[in-house]
């Protein structure tokens, strides 16, 4: 683990609770995440992963609990405000601007970060071009910069999302099933890219994932959720050998 212990955690979650109509979706979840660290959140379908995620990114308000980003409580803030504090996101089902080109998508995020979106008359796309191309270069999408996102292959959209998530120089990346729907090798490549960027830029990464090759290959640490509770947390090997995790989630093959 490259940068785990140094300094205060980037993300600190304590005693997170959420129930829907009397059903406990997330119950007393706590964990911490340091700069440059990749933490995987795994568990069966319906275990509360998405709910947990949505409480961190501002989509849902927790019933109880504390979420601190660099020591600052972010509970109750909107997704927009949380982004402004330095949290980038990618979605399980990619969300990009289909009618805009790849470069324009990244420029949109850069303009937003620079507070330049309110202009009514300047032509969009003339500024921040170099910055956008630098990001596209890093994720290997520069050759497709002119194509509208609406016609891109799925794996490429995932990479565009990553570039957009990096545009605000985030402290924390939240990635919801970042490799869903990709081919096995693409999956590993995307997460290796993510890992190298995260380590170089000291970004903390939290991701959910169903592909165990990606999880055990890329995560520094793993936490396991089942029926809303954390049932295990630790290094990949510890989690792999945890009998409870094997029973509810991994089964016999992994």
């Amino acid at each position: 683990m490259s940068g785990g212990k140094a300094g205060a955690p980037v993300l600190l979650v304590e005693g997170l609770h959420k129930s829907f109509g009397g059903v406990q979706a997330v119950e007393d979840v706590s964990f911490a995440l340091s700069a440059g660290e990749l933490l995987a959140l795994i568990g069966p379908n319906g275990a509360g992963k998405s709910t947990c995620f949505n409480m961190l990114n501002g989509q849902l308000a927790p019933d109880n609990g504390v979420v601190r980003l660099d020591g600052r409580d972010i509970v109750g803030l909107s997704p927009r405000q949380i982004w402004r504090l330095g949290v980038g996101r990618t979605f399980q089902i990619t969300a990009t601007f289909a009618s805009l080109s790849v470069r324009e998508n990244v420029q949109m995020a850069l303009y937003s970060h620079a507070g330049r979106l309110r202009s009514l008359f300047q032509r969009f796309g003339t500024a921040m071009r170099r910055e956008a191309d630098a990001l596209l270069e890093q994720i290997g999408m520069l050759d497709q910069a002119e194509r509208p996102c609406g016609v891109l292959a799925y794996g490429d959209l995932k990479r565009v999302e990553l570039a957009m998530a990096l545009a605000n120089e985030p402290r924390l990346l939240l990635m919801d099933e970042p490799t869903a729907g990709m081919a096995p090798r693409e999956r590993v490549a995307l997460m290796e890219l993510t890992a190298s960027l995260a380590r170089a830029r000291r970004i903390a990464v939290l991701f959910t994932e169903h592909d165990m090759d990606v999880v055990f290959g890329q995560a520094d640490r793993i936490i396991v959720l089942d029926r809303g509770r954390l049932i295990a947390a630790g290094l990949p090997e510890e989690v792999r050998n945890n009998p409870e995790v094997r029973a509810v989630y991994l089964g016999g093959t992994h």
Binding site: N57, S78, P79, R80, W83, R84, R89, F91, A95, T96, F97, A98, S99, L100, S101, E104, M108, A109, Y111, S112, H113, R116, L117, R118, S119, L120, F121, Q122, R123, F124, G125, P148, C149, G150, V151, E161, M164, A167, N168
Partner: protein, 625 residues
């Protein structure tokens, strides 16, 4: 007001609610399965009324004659509905949703003229229901027995519908298709038959709702749009797709209207409140309140992500300045080479062109469909007129201030509207437009009410027709240029981004609603400018400038031209205005001809005129290459 007379009004309201419920239930059912907002549903109601009138004449004013006429009329309307589905809509299920909407507009136009041809323009008063013409005495007041029967029929129809949907295979198929019609097809269900049957049932409901009103309401040609507006409100207040919600909302609105009539003028704390004047707006006020408190209606649920297979919107291409230059030269030269008629027509086209471009601004790039954009056009026109005639401002000042009055209303209305999206948003815009229209229509002291205002002439230096032509071209041209320029600015791109993926936009720190609100106000301002140019070009203005049909005209122009193109709305406005003008001089049935032309275009060019031509051109080039 005494308790007994209040009770009578209440019962009266409940009797109204029955028919309203049936129309709305039909609308909701059809929307659920086919994702088509059937604008022609009010027309089907109207046909039910006319049909019942004629059939009673034919079958005799006996109880048997009356009730067979009502049932037969409902079924006849059902068949009309099924025919609309088979002949028109079936061909365009793969077209964008808005095109289907345009097709149903066209059907409204056609049905209106068919009714005009068959039944004439006079109101037709039907007979009382034979055997039920007596009145029942309640607390010393008399209420028609027929009304009491109607009150019972509403819930009975709801019960039957519920059984049909919850207990039959057809019902399961309908509910499944409401969520994912393609999957239903892949499981072996013939979608075409299912859709036709749904249209039939939905149309029977509308026809029955209309036919049952024959003893209470004269058949007339304005019913199509007033009923559809009411039905929209009921569907939205109750929650799209919820039948009990539709009944609840129909009762709420029927009763509220009846109470407003019943209360009349009430003296409260030294102020006279004229409730009877609120009748026209009360339902829209209820709708506004409900939508803000419960965005998906009283009993509605947030719409499940629909699987409408829409292709990703195309990137907009900026117009070339060479093309723009050619147009400017041509328009400058027109007065030199042509007569007043052409110039007057071009002024109309310029006004409607700016109106359509401002509507397209929020509909296309910002993805907010408005059914009520005429509100801002009308407000601009009336603001100019009122500032000139009532406030005594010079024409120049009145003209320049007018768009800002429209902007002020857009600011208020827009705040509510951007909280919603999709059909709900569209219907809320309609509600606000209807409120605006009602205020203009009723405020005699300020607006001269239904008579409209006259003598709204431009200042002396603009009195010359040619000068006003240039004046109109400059302002409308600047308006269009401004809106187009903004579309390519960061602001314009944010609108497109917010339409493509609100989720992603929020996730990169964009306040989507804020931008949409600003866009709404900008579009409203420009529509107001168009209205002001229009008012001063005519010298008079009537409430129809803010009416539903003015709004739908705008929609037709945008859709005709093609919502995914930049210049489409201008082309659409030109073709529509010219066609309407040319047809109206040739035939009384110009609406039907216009409707048929639109249907033809919809079936042949599902991308709109400009989009269609571009596609044809593209194919041609490909073949040459």
């Amino acid at each position: 007001m005494s308790f007994p007379s209040l009770l009578i009004q209440l019962l009266n309201g409940l009797a109204d609610a029955s028919s309203l419920f049936m129309v709305s239930a039909g609308l909701s059912l059809i929307f659920g399965v086919t994702r088509i907002v059937n604008f022609a549903h009010g027309s089907l109601y109207m046909l039910g009324l006319y049909g019942a009138y004629s059939l009673i004449e034919l079958l005799g004013r006996t109880p048997l004659g009356f009730w067979s006429a009502v049932i037969l009329a409902a079924f006849a309307v059902g068949i009309v509905g099924a025919l609309i589905e088979i002949v028109v809509l079936r061909r365009i299920y793969r077209a964008p949703e808005l095109f289907q909407l345009l097709a149903t507009f066209a059907v409204v136009l056609v049905i209106k003229d068919v009714a005009l041809y068959a039944w004439g323009s006079e109101d037709l008063v039907g007979p009382r229901a034979p055997g039920l013409s007596m009145a029942v005495e309640i607390l010393g007041k008399r209420i028609p027995a027929y009304d009491l029967l109607l009150i019972v029929i509403g819930p009975v129809v709801l019960g039957l519908l519920w059984l049909l949907l919850a207990r039959t295979r057809w019902g399961a198929l309908v509910r499944a298709a409401t969520q994912d019609r393609e999957m239903v097809g892949a499981l072996g269900v013939d979608q075409a038959k299912l859709f036709t049957s749904v249209f039939f049932v939905g149309a029977v409901l509308a026809g029955l709702g209309g036919a049952l009103q024959i003893p209470r309401e004269p058949a007339n040609l304005d019913l199509d749009l007033t009923v559809i507006a009411d039905a929209f409100v009921v569907t939205v207040v109750g929650g799209l797709g919820s039948l009990p919600g539709a009944l609840l909302a129909a009762v709420l609105i029927g009763v509220a209207k009846a109470l407003c009539i019943g209360l009349g003028t009430v003296h409260v704390l030294g102020v006279d409140i004229v409730f009877s004047k609120l009748v026209l707006v009360v339902e829209f006020v209820i709708m506004g309140v409900v939508l803000v408190l419960r965005p998906y209606g009283l009993l509605g649920k947030p719409p499940a992500a629909s699987r409408a297979a829409g292709a990703a919107p195309l990137p907009l291409a900026a117009p070339r300045w060479q093309t723009a230059l050619v147009w400017i030269v041509v328009l400058l030269a027109v007065p030199l080479v042509s007569d007043d008629y052409v110039a007057a027509l071009l002024i109309d086209i310029a006004c409607f062109g700016l109106f359509a471009v401002s509507l397209h601004f929020i509909m296309g790039p910002a993805g907010m469909i408005s059914f009520g954009h005429a509100a801002y056009f009308g407000l601009g026109a009336y603001a100019g007129a009122v500032l000139l005639k009532r406030a005594g401002l010079p024409m120049e000042a009145a003209f320049l201030l007018a768009p800002f009055c429209a902007a002020l209303f857009a600011l208020v209305y827009g705040w509510f509207c951007v909280r919603l999206s999709g059909v709900y948003l569209a219907m809320l815009t309609l509600a606000f437009a209807q409120i605006t229209w009602s205020i203009i229509f009723q405020w005699d002291a300020l607006t001269s009410g239904s008579n409209g205002m006259i003598g709204i002439w431009p200042a002396a230096w603009l009195a010359d027709k040619t000068r006003y032509y240039y004046f109109a071209m400059v302002f409308c041209g600047l308006g269009v240029a401004l809106l187009w320029r903004v579309l390519f600015s960061p602001f314009g791109y944010v609108l497109r981004a917010g339409r493509d993926s609100p989720l992603r936009a929020e996730a990169i720190g964009i306040n989507v609603r804020g931008f949409q609100w600003a866009a709404f106000v900008l579009a409203g301002t420009m529509a107001g400018l168009a209205g002001a140019v229009f008012a001063f070009s005519k010298g008079s203005i009537s409430p129809s400038a803010a009416s539903i049909s003015q709004s739908t005209d705008g929609l037709v122009m945008v859709l005709l031209g093609g919502v995914e193109t930049l210049t489409g709305p201008v082309v659409g406005a030109g073709v529509f205005t010219w066609l309407r003008d040319a047809l109206a001089r040739e035939t009384d049935y110009w609406r039907a001809v216009l409707g048929l032309v639109i249907l033809l275009i919809v079936v042949l060019f599902p991308q709109g005129l400009v989009g269609g031509l571009k596609m044809l051109l593209g194919r041609f080039r490909e073949r040459r290459a």
